[in-house]
Amino acid sequence: MSIHDLNPTDKKDTRSGFGDAILELGKEDERVVALCADLTGSLKMNGFANEFPDRFFQTGIAEANMMGMAAGLTIGGKIPFTGTFANFSTGRVYDQIRQSIAYSQKNVKICASHAGLTLGEDGATHQILEDIGLMRMLPNMTVINPCDYNQTFAATKAIKDHEGPVYLRFGRPSWPIFASKTSFEIGKAWKINDGKDVTIIATGHMVWYAVLAAKELEKLGITVDLLNIHTIKPIDQEAILDSVSKTGCVVTAEEHNRFGGLGEAVAQVTSTNHPVPQEFVAVNDSFGESGKPTDLLKKYGLDVSDIVKAAQKVLHRKG
């Protein structure tokens, strides 16, 4: 596997990976139930809702109640998947998740769409850039941010068999499909490319940009050790340390505030085990705004060229 093997022709939204997978899960396991707070179409949950009306709970615009209900449904052996936007899946219901799900150790799968800047035109009220941090801080919580349709499909299938609360983060834009639809292991990084000069670790939509950046860096004579960390918690410490002990420097790329997200999670691993220079490609502690997804990524410093520049900078710091 290398970046040269990745030349996707198809595009799809990651939320559709969730919607298609939960429909399959409904057929495979009758313990699977789904709840949605008036965003069934946006979450691509129509298939499940139509096929399994008895196991689909429309809660209305009442996310706090939805999270509590999901916790309650686990008592009796159900495996509830909640669906709403990432903003309303985290910040709006943080205390409900904290007490009724995480602290109570309930087997709820919190599935969150429209995360990050790539939500686009709706603007900052809906573009949450703090959710990974919020969810990472909760004990007992697993946090997963898949990179494309296939990986979101595979992650949705995988979390059903994982006992414990999970936060699954995906999004709205149509995005290149390049990951495996079948091989996915929670907590295990995907090694996309072997290189010796710089490690790039990316999550979510930024993984595709990291692939493009790695291709450009290679043209400049810089080889990239490229890792996709889809599971931000628990993080694949071994994969990170293997890579940085080879390259001696790292760039992290995420569609999230530079505080609280993947970058800090990686820094915690390296600083306590094998300190290396790190550059953060992330939103610089600001809210977003309305615009087209790719234009927003560019404006907020999350473009392919930003990853390339960060790699050059961290290489310079390495000396």
Partner: protein, 281 residues
């Protein structure tokens, strides 16, 4: 009336447990706990079917109870212990380090009888609805009971849940409200009035019953009536008038004993008013 006599005697013992528990750690919430002692004794001693010796989280083929106002944990712990969920001696560990009897109830310590953490208010009705829906999916015709504080009804999530349950015909659910009219900062009517509580619940689509929560015969009668109303397409709520501090004269008639423990002298005074009917822990 042998049954009422037994329940009334148990209430007295539970009240002794409550004041001794909060006294020994010098913290906790005696007021609401004392007020709800009769309710817990009626629920666990008469109403619910459960297997206290083989506690399982899923609670299949059992009635389930969720305490939404988790701060009155002393009364729940006493009722659970007196119902055989765990040794009554363990009540002595309440709020101590390494105890399963945390200040607010939790599943984290695996105390038999507890299925949900509570303490941050307003969350229990939603959880209960989820558990009630799971029972329906499992073709399990047992019931879900809850208790909420009256002050707790100021939380918005309660009304999200209140709207959901009738719309979706969650009719295997009996919610109860501890209507003692007091909260930490004072009288509920002064802090944030609940207005016409019966009318509010009726407007949301619930069947509403009212009862004196400190009259065992009336309370048991109301709970049985509520049970008889289940399965008819509507959730049921019982507005249960209680006296905060019930059973200990100097704790009654004020909000001041909401979250304050008695000193040695006050403990002795309280215990002198509560008969030891089943033996102290």
């Amino acid at each position: 009336m042998a049954e009422i006599d037994f329940l009334t005697k148990r209430s007295s013992q539970v009240r002794r447990d409550i004041v001794r528990m909060v006294h020994s750690c010098y913290s906790g919430h005696p007021g609401g706990s004392l007020g709800c002692a009769d309710f817990f004794v009626a629920l666990y001693g008469e109403m619910m079917s459960f297997d206290s010796k083989n506690f399982e989280m899923d609670g299949k083929d059992e009635d389930l109870f969720f305490l939404s106002n988790g701060h009155i944990s002393p009364v729940w712990y006493s009722a659970l212990a007196r119902s055989g969920y765990f040794p009554i001696e363990e009540l002595a560990t309440f709020r101590q380090i390494d105890s399963r009897l945390q200040g607010h109830p939790t599943t984290a310590e695996h105390l038999p009888g507890i299925r949900m953490a509570s303490g941050s208010l307003g969350q229990g009705l939603s959880v209960a609805i989820g558990a009630a829906l799971a029972k329906k999916l499992n073709n399990d015709d047992h019931l879900i009971y809850t208790l909420h504080g009256d002050g707790e009804l100021q939380e918005g999530q309660i009304w999200e849940a209140a709207m959901y349950a009738p719309h979706h015909k969650v009719d295997n659910l009996i919610a109860s409200i501890d209507y003692n009219s007091r909260q930490i900062d004072g009288d509920v009517d002064d802090v944030l009035s609940l207005g016409n509580l019966r009318a509010k619940w009726e407007a949301f689509g619930w069947d509403v019953l009212e009862t004196n929560g400190n009259n065992m015969a009336e309370l048991v009668g109301t709970l049985k009536k509520a049970k008889g109303m289940t399965g008819n397409g509507k959730p049921i709520v019982i507005i249960m008038t209680t006296e905060m501090g019930q059973g200990v004269d100097f704790m009654m008639g004020s909000h001041k004993w909401h979250g304050v423990a008695p000193n040695d002298e006050q403990l002795a005074q309280a215990l002198s008013q509560l008969a030891e009917t089943e033996g102290d822990y």
